[in-house]
Structure formats: structure tokens, C-alpha cells
Assembly symmetry: D2
Homo-oligomer: 342 residues x 4
């Protein structure tokens, strides 16, 4: 059980590590950092070097066993920022507990396959156990996972193997889905035996998974957040999660915000996934995110869902990540709100 | 006084005129059309040929004195659609009245200048008068105005004159602002004598202007919508307007929606303008819409504000247009909701 | 045998049909038009409405049995223009002969399949026969073929069938490849029996195919151009073709231009296909066209190859089309030059 | 006089510093590096973090007084790579000499102004003098200069000052032009007294300037390359320069290549600038680079001119940079070829 606090700060560029000073002012030392979770201002797709830049500048400044998870894309109103997950002082209970880890490195040809999902499932299972919570207490599993670049595709072909896809952008989706299925298995939302089938049908999903792909790593960075929302928790922090049914599901956001309000709480951070409904429609009305060849659908989705969430919480420093394959119902996305209670 | 009804239908492409059949099923004839106001799925910028395509296919199917106003850009969740403004049967009062018209053609070098604003002011003033309403009863003035293409820039230079800007994309903003200032003058939100000064300081704005630029025309298409919101109106339709203060101003949308709910009303259509705050920040938090060289800020703004509005009204067929220079306060945008009462 | 002349004119927008007047000045009547082949200034991808706009405005102005082939994308230096293929006066021999036609409409689920290729093969074979030339005299087969939109994908799924791909942009490539294989079979570059296998291995290619996809049609528009390059031809026009080996194959262009120069010829038009090498490298050096998530690879390829060809022929009104799957060797593209001899 | 060698190597990403190992294999030590000049694979515009990433990873690995110049954008066929300028062993003459330096930091409101140009002029003049060559022996002055981000714009406004432009993308052009004018003055292509006037008329240009803007610095990085092309030079390297008249000026490239061939030379590297003709036409034919709101004109220009140059030299590792304001004639761009003689 690792009790954690959570703080967020805006950044002036992906290379900006000045939030470390603000963290210090807030009374925390860099050595207490478990995770740096950031939104950087690139395109959030294959050639998003804002993520790599952030990873490069941050990784030298945080503990070796801490993880970075940078999600690209601050379309629309979103503000580039970092969220710190830090150990509480003297491990005093805060109401939130967290743990971080890595899978082993995935070979390029494993990306998006049952091996990938299995590796994630095993790592998350072991982290949850180590945290000493039950799967249903976990409110969020955040994963940064690899993608296939042209070079990695060539490596696979040179070995006479088949990549999961020849399209670098599509490899991001395949990687996210395999990670989400691994999380679903670890959180017992699906059975371990369903993993292989899931990767074929692409139907099963986790309500608490949030996965983001990047070229800047070859393993998966994993962050697990748990909250005892039953009210027994000590401390001043809580997390609650419930997926959005579609990209305009203001209803579920308002529902959670009202519940938080009833508890006298204040929103600290929102972690949401967004996607263009693959059927090309939202509640029966056509959208154009899947036929816009100038702008990838993940960029559209972040902008739209980011606008909705930022409007409802009155804050643009929210973590909205694009591409919700297996992370919430199709066309919707997982949603987790961390809040402070009196 | 022309009493009007309002109907909206999705389109399958910018070339889709099948909503005419649905209009007919709803009991209206094409000859009753005053205006076709559409959202088309292009980039909403200089080279948006979806607007031109829609204009070409629609203009042969509607009365000569009707106008088309196509606004490009259905980023995020937005659904391409058309809104018909039609004369009511036998001119029976509906609660809404409307009138349409054109300015004279603007010479390329007049675009964005006091002449442009003056021409708009004169046309709108005359239309409002003809409608028989007072300026404060006007809830929305929608204008489609020209922009400068490379060819028009060359024409200006060949005449030894100076264009308002050499940047084709920026010319859209200049055109929208001059149109908005003209509306503000006509609606007595600013004095006629302030027009010239306004174009210098770029400060004054109208709360009920909605302007959109396009390469497909060289005059301005004007649509004026009035509603007697004092409750004296007969008929089942109402319009109400109040600008958004910034791009995440969910508050004002919720306020209007609650007012409508109190009246037992149901939203028919929303007309909103959106823009990237030119100061680079929203409520003090940095946004990246003005430094994203891959994606123009108007596309970002439409996606974000479109996501917020569609979420709150539960409908993606809303008219959200990008570039709100002088159309609502800086960083915000005008907002008009048309609704049906029992 | 239909003897044809060829003329090209710039356009000021996709809606510009004023070249008809120039055609008239050049002594030709619209009734002599066999084909209007144009480059329009959209993105050349799924949501390129510049193509549809051009098709709409042109199709009402040309003979019923003439075809339009609009290829989107004039990236870089390329000039939007139209090329007319017109019957010569009194069918006087010109050195070039041509014929146009259509396949039957393809069902959405047939796109990219052996049925699609077979349909093309049959149509081209029959057109070549009708033209009275041998397959090896054919210098160019230009095809405009359909793609899968979100709506067409839904139609397929609603029928319980599988589309060739779920990605609208990728469907363009699948459609081009099936068309190219059909051409290869008709020109006897591959055996008819190899068609099905070709669509699996995606290896075989035609040296004289040029295929372009669009949402604006559901059949294939076909244009066949033949030239007797053996020197026996009467008339003042010739066509020669030889594929580019890669996207920087200046050598083959220079070789053809020198051959033309030797004959005292002058280039009238160039028809070229361009693509990003799918292996991610050109002559061993990495390119970034397949990992650029802001800009589709076909746009990159048109810009680069267009720059090379326009530079070498000293003219930017050239037909360079993106996506050369099966149209020339992998990473290269077919190339056909039409020229005038004394 | 600093005799230099020049070597180039491809990179696998902007973070790839493995060329250092290849440099070592080639017999050079990192301590001999004067400049690292790279093409990185971002958009080359305001939010190109590939440049910043490259600067971050390289600056810790090269001597303190060496400079980095990273130009973003490898559109089309271009290969991301780095070019090393290294001191020759024991300062043995190579035929090429070079020197690097910095201007002082420019305040945001100085960007694009006569102060900016003056500061560049002074720095380049002093570097040329220090190099011990005459201005006409200088074949290339390469500059990396700052741009205005939203934050820098806010800083200026907060001080009650006026930025040169409110548009972050346009600030790149303004910065390049002021740098180019400074170079022109230092190389005596224009008089020092013409600087202020030049910034107003935007007419004068330098034939040997190559300037590139970036958010990653606030001073200008300067690299000066001289060659004694009169044949008196010892050593095996030469540089020659002559600007392209327009973006399809294959003629001048072929002319230089033939001259090099006559000397038995082999091309080592090409440094070229490219731009969209601001008049909207090339040799009278319309181009669409200035009206494409999806893709900035500098990206178009790099792709097209990169395709032409790479085709003619048969190598995609060439330095083609976009935005040639004042760097060669309007619509064209400066061009410098470094080659090896027997």
C-alpha cells in the first residue's frame, strides 16, 4: 500500500521541467515522485516528438523506478501540463494508493498480439497484488505502450515475420487495444482465457483502462491507481470512475460531478479517453472524424471530448487521451475523476 | 414581418440535396425557403471546396431571392447538416421572424475595410427595418462574407493597391471582423461613427453577430432572425442569445438551457461562434491553438466548442462556426438558441 | 480507331469551366470531348471535395459518353489544370488514338477484390479491342475508381459482409491496386489467371496503369491511350511510357526527354504516378512519408515527384497522381509522356 | 582560417546521436566539431519539437563553442540526417574554411526589426573577418534564428510594446528575412545603410543566405562557409553557390552539377532554400501553396524543391530548408553545393 498525493502544473513547452520547483514549493521532493503523467502539445500520433522530448528531459530528473507517461495532443482548449503522483509524507494515508511498473520490452512483432496483452495482464496483476488492493478498488490503470515505426516494421519483415499491421498510425490502435485487454484481464473484467479471443473480435473492453502509444519506448509503462470509495478511506483524496458511453456523454460527467459535489469534494484531475465512433455515427448522426484525411480521428476526438470535459469542470488542465479501443465502450471512453474531500 | 419556421436535416455529403425531400414530407415547398444554412465537412478555411460544392448544388434548387450560408468545418463530433429557414404557411405567426438579403459585391481591396463594414451596416439596418422589428429584438445576424484568394490578392496588387493582408487565411478573420462591426453598428451595439475606429482597435464586438468567410462569393449573404422573447409572441418558436465569455463557458449554455427548460421548451438549433483566445490563454491556462502549425486555430475551436455544445444539448447537428472576431467577447463567441415551446 | 488531339489549360478553381472557351478558341467543340482529365487542388484523399465539385460542374457540359477523371492534389509547385482529350477534326490521324468507357457499378464490398480487378480487366480488354490496337501499343490506361466512405462501410457491415479494410484512406489504395491489376491483365502484363493471386501478394504491377480513387463515383471511369511509337504513325502526336524505378528516378525522365528531343519533339503532357516507398526507404535512405501523421504519404509523394517532373519539363501543369500501388514498381510509378513532333 | 571537413550521416530519429560513432570511425573526434547541421522530421513550423529534441540531445555532446542548426521538415523524399562540420586534422587545408558564432540574445520585440538585422550583420561581418576571407569568398551563411511563440507575444504585449506580427507562423518569416538582410549587409550584397529600408520594402536579398527559425533558441546561431573557388585552393573540397530563380529552376542545379562534373568532382552536400512564390504563380502558372489551409507553404516548398534536388543529385540526404524570404530572389532560393575533387 503506497499512499500518494497528486498535484498538477502547467508547462510552457514539452521541455519545461520547472514544475519540479513548484512541487518543491508544495513541500515534495523529486525523490518522492512515482509517476509524471503529462499532456504534451504534439499531434499525439506516430511522429509526435513532443512526447519524446518530454521523456528525455524528465527521465533524468526523477527516481529510476518512477515512470513517465506522456500523452500527446492538447487539441482545442486543452492546456499542456504534468500531473505528479508522489508518495505521501511518511506514507500517511491519503485515500489514494498507487504503484508503478514496467512490462518487459516487447519485440516489434509482439505488438498488438496476445503476448502483448498477456504481458500487460501479468504485470498489472502483480502490481495490484503488490499494492494490496482488490481489482475492484482499482479506479485507473494508465499505460504508455509502444507503436510500430517504419524501422520497426522493416525489422519485423527482415526476420520473415508479419507485423500486426503495415500502417504506423494503425499500430497505435492495435497497441492500445492489446494493452486494454491485458488490463481487463488483470482487473477481472474479462477472464484470462478470453484474451486471445478478445484480440480477434476486438469487442471486450475495460472500464478503467487508459492506454496511450508512443515511439519513445519499447516496453509498457504502467500506473495503477486505487481508491477505497466505500467511505472507509482515511485522507482527503478520492478517485471515482465510470465510462462515457459516447463522445457527447455529458450525462455521466455531470453525474460524477454531482456525486463529488454532494461529498463536498473538489475536482483535482480528470483522466479520460476519447475516440471517434468506429461506426461513423454518434447517436445516429454522422460524424466526419473517420473520413478526414487531413486530421487523424484521435486529434478530433481529443479536441471534442476535451472541450466538453474542460467546460464542465471549468479547467483545461485535464488528461484527455485519444484512441479508446477497449478502454470503455465503443465510441465512448474510460473516465476517472480524482477529487479532494474536506 | 415574415414569420418563419426552422427545420434541420443531416446530409450525407456537401453535394446531398435530399433534405429537400424531407422538407417536402414535413409539409414545406422549396419555394418557401428563405435560407439554407449549412455546416459542411471541409476544413472551414481558404481552400474549403465543400462550401463551394454545397453552394453550387443548392443554389439551383432554391428561390432566386433565398440565400445560402455554408460554414465549413464539422470537426470532432459535429454532424454535417442543413438548416432550412422557411416562410410559415399563410404567414401564420410562429414566434420567429426572419429576412434575408445581400450586400453589393465588395471589391477585393475593400474587404476588411470600413467600406465593407459600412456596406454591411447599411444592408442589415435596412433589413431590420423591413422586418419591422427593433434592433434589440434581433437575436442573430448570420453573414457569409468573402475572403482573399491568391488571385484576388494579385488583382489588388495589379491595380497598385494594398490588400488588408497578404495572408489568405488571415483575410478570413479580417472579413469576419468587418462584417461583425457592421452588424454591431446596425444593431446599435456601437455607434455608426465608431466603425472606422473599431477596425483599427479591433476591440468592439456584437453579441448577436455570426460571420463566416468563404471563397465562393464576392458579396455578403445576410440572414436576420428576430424573436419577441418578452413572451408576447404568438406561435411555438423562440430564439434567445447571450454570448459565451470564453471557449469553456459551459455556464452560459447551461443558463440558457435551464431557462428554456423552465418554459417547457425544446432546443431546435444552436448557432454558436468559437475562437482560440488570441492571448494564448483561457482563464490563465495556456492553450496551443495559436502555435499549432499543422491545424488552424479555427478548426481547433470548432472541435472544442462543438464538443461542449453537442454534449450539453445532446445533439451533434449544431451550427458551430470558427473565428469569432467581433462576434462576442475576445476568446468567447456569440450564442443563439432557437427552441420550440408547447 | 479514334484519333485524338490533346490540349491542356489551367483552371482558377475546381469550379472553373472557362477552359471550354479556350478549347473553342483552339477550334474544338465541346461535343468532340472524349475525356476531361484534371488535377484539382484538394487533399487528394477521402474528403477531397474539390474532385466532386469539378465532376459536378463539368459533367453537365460534356457529351454523355465522355468521362471525367479528376485527381486531387496539386501539392508543391503543381498547377491545377484540365487536359482535354478530343476527337480530331474529321477523324484525321494524329498519331494518338484513345477510347473511354465505364465499368459497371461496383458494390461497396467488391471494392479492392478480384471482382473489381476482373471487371476492370474485362472493360479495358474490350476498349482496347474496340480501339483496334494491340495491348503493347497502349501507352496509358487511366482509371478513376471508387473508395469506401464511412457510409459505404456501414452499408457493407449492415449486410453482414466484410469490407476489404475498415480504414477509409486505405480503401483508396486497395481500390487503386485492384484497378491496376485489372489493367495489367488486360494489357497482358500478367496472365488473367494471376489476378486473384496478385490481390493477395500485392506484388505484380502494370507499367502503364494510372489509377486514382474518389468518393464521387461508384463505377470506374476508364481512359485508354495508344500511340504507334514505331514511327509508322501519321500525325504530329506521340506517347511514350516507361516507369520510374523510385521517387527520385530523374534518370528515366531525362532519358525519355532526350529521346523526345532527338525526334525534335516538344512535351505536351506528362502522366505520372508517385508513391512513398512502402519499405520506408529510398535507395537505402529513410524517408518519413509513412510516419507523418499530419500529412498522408500520397500528398508527400505528389509534392516531391511533382517538383522533380515540373523542374525537368519546365512546366507545372503536369498530371502527377499519388498512390502508385501496382502502377509501376514498388516505390516508383508509371510515367507516360505525350509529345508533339514536327 | 579554420580548415574544415564535412561529413553527413542519416539519423533514425531526432534523438539519434549515433552519427557520433560514425564520425569516430571516420577518424574524427567530437572535440573537432564546429557545427552540427541537421534536418529533422517535424513540420518545420512553430510547434516543431523535433528541432528542440535534436538540440537537447546534441548540445550535451559537442564542444561548448560549437553550434547546432536544426532545420525542421523532411517532406517528400528527404532523409533526416546530420551534417558535421569538423576542423581538419592538424588544420591541414581542405579547400573549405568555416567559422561559427552567436549573436547576442534578441528581445522578443526586436525579432524581425532593424536591430535584429543589424545584430546579424555585425556578427557575420566579424566572423568573416576572423576567418580571414573576403566577403565574396563566402559561399554560405547559415543561420538559425528565433520565432515568436504565444508566450513571447504575451511578454511583448505585457510590456506595452508591439510585436512585428501577432501570427506565430508569420513571425518565422519575419525572423528569416531580418537575418537574411543582416547577411546581405555583411557580405556587401547591400549597403549597411539599406538595412532599415530593406525591412520595409522586403525586396533586397542575399544570394548566399540560408536562414531557418525555431522556438528552441533566443539568439541566432551562425555558420559561415568559405571556399576559394578560383582554383588556388589546396585540399579536396570546394563549395559553389548560385541561387535558384524559382522553385522549378532545374537549370541552375544542372549547370552547377555539370561544372562540378567537369572538375571531376562529386557532390558531398547541397544546401538549398525553397519557398512558395508569394505572387501565387510560378512562371505564370498558379500554384496552391498559399491557399492551402491544411498545409503551410513552407512544407509544400520543401517537398517540391527537395524532390527536384534529390532527383538530380541522386541523394535524399540534402539540406533543403523552407521559407526563402531574402535568401535568393522572390520565389526562388539560395543554393550552395559542397563537393569533393580528386
Amino acid at each position: 500500500m503506497v499512499a500518494v498525493d497528486i498535484l498538477k502544473f502547467p508547462v510552457s513547452s514539452p521541455a519545461d521541467t520547472s514544475p519540479l520547483e513548484k512541487l518543491s514549493v508544495a513541500g515534495y521532493d523529486a525523490s518522492q515522485i512515482l509517476a509524471v503523467i503529462g499532456k504534451t502539445e504534439g499531434n499525439g500520433c506516430v511522429n509526435d516528438f513532443s512526447r519524446t522530448l518530454a521523456a528525455v528531459v524528465w527521465e533524468s530528473k526523477i527516481p529510476k523506478n518512477a515512470v513517465t507517461i506522456f500523452s500527446g495532443g492538447t487539441e482545442g482548449v486543452l492546456c499542456p501540463h504534468v500531473t505528479f503522483i508522489v508518495r505521501s509524507h511518511d506514507d500517511a494515508p491519503t485515500g489514494l494508493s498507487a504503484v508503478v511498473g514496467h512490462t518487459k520490452a516487447l519485440a516489434p512483432d509482439q505488438l498488438g498480439t496476445p503476448e502483448h496483452a498477456g504481458e500487460v495482464a501479468q504485470t498489472v496483476t502483480s502490481l495490484v497484488k503488490g499494492l494490496g488492493v482488490s481489482p475492484e478498488q482499482v479506479q485507473l490503470v494508465l499505460i504508455k505502450c509502444p507503436l510500430l515505426t517504419s524501422e520497426r516494421l522493416e525489422t519485423i519483415r527482415a526476420q520473415g515475420k508479419q507485423p500486426i499491421t503495415n500502417d504506423t498510425y494503425e499500430s497505435m490502435a492495435k497497441s492500445r487495444y492489446a494493452s486494454a485487454v491485458g488490463i481487463a484481464a488483470a482487473l477481472e473484467e474479462i477472464a484470462q482465457t478470453q484474451v486471445e479471443e478478445a484480440l480477434k473480435t476486438e469487442q471486450p473492453w475495460s472500464a478503467r483502462a487508459s492506454c496511450s502509444s508512443g515511439a519513445e519506448l519499447d516496453d509498457c509503462h504502467v500506473f495503477v491507481l486505487a481508491s477505497d470509495i466505500k467511505g472507509l478511506a482515511q485522507g482527503h483524496l478520492r478517485a471515482v470512475s465510470k465510462p462515457m458511453k459516447d463522445a457527447i456523454d455529458a450525462g455521466v460527467i455531470i453525474e460524477l460531478l454531482e456525486q463529488i459535489k454532494k461529498e463536498g469534494g473538489q475536482v483535482v484531475q480528470v483522466f479520460a479517453k476519447a475516440e471517434a465512433d468506429p461506426r461513423g455515427k454518434i447517436r445516429g448522426w454522422r460524424h466526419t472524424m473517420n473520413t478526414d484525411s487531413d486530421l487523424h480521428s484521435t486529434r478530433h476526438a481529443r479536441a471534442a471530448v476535451g472541450g466538453l470535459i474542460a467546460g464542465l469542470v471549468g479547467n483545461t488542465q485535464v488528461y484527455v487521451s485519444g484512441g479508446a479501443e477497449g478502454q470503455g465502450p465503443s465510441g465512448g471512453g474510460s473516465l476517472c475523476i480524482v477529487y479532494r474531500v474536506p
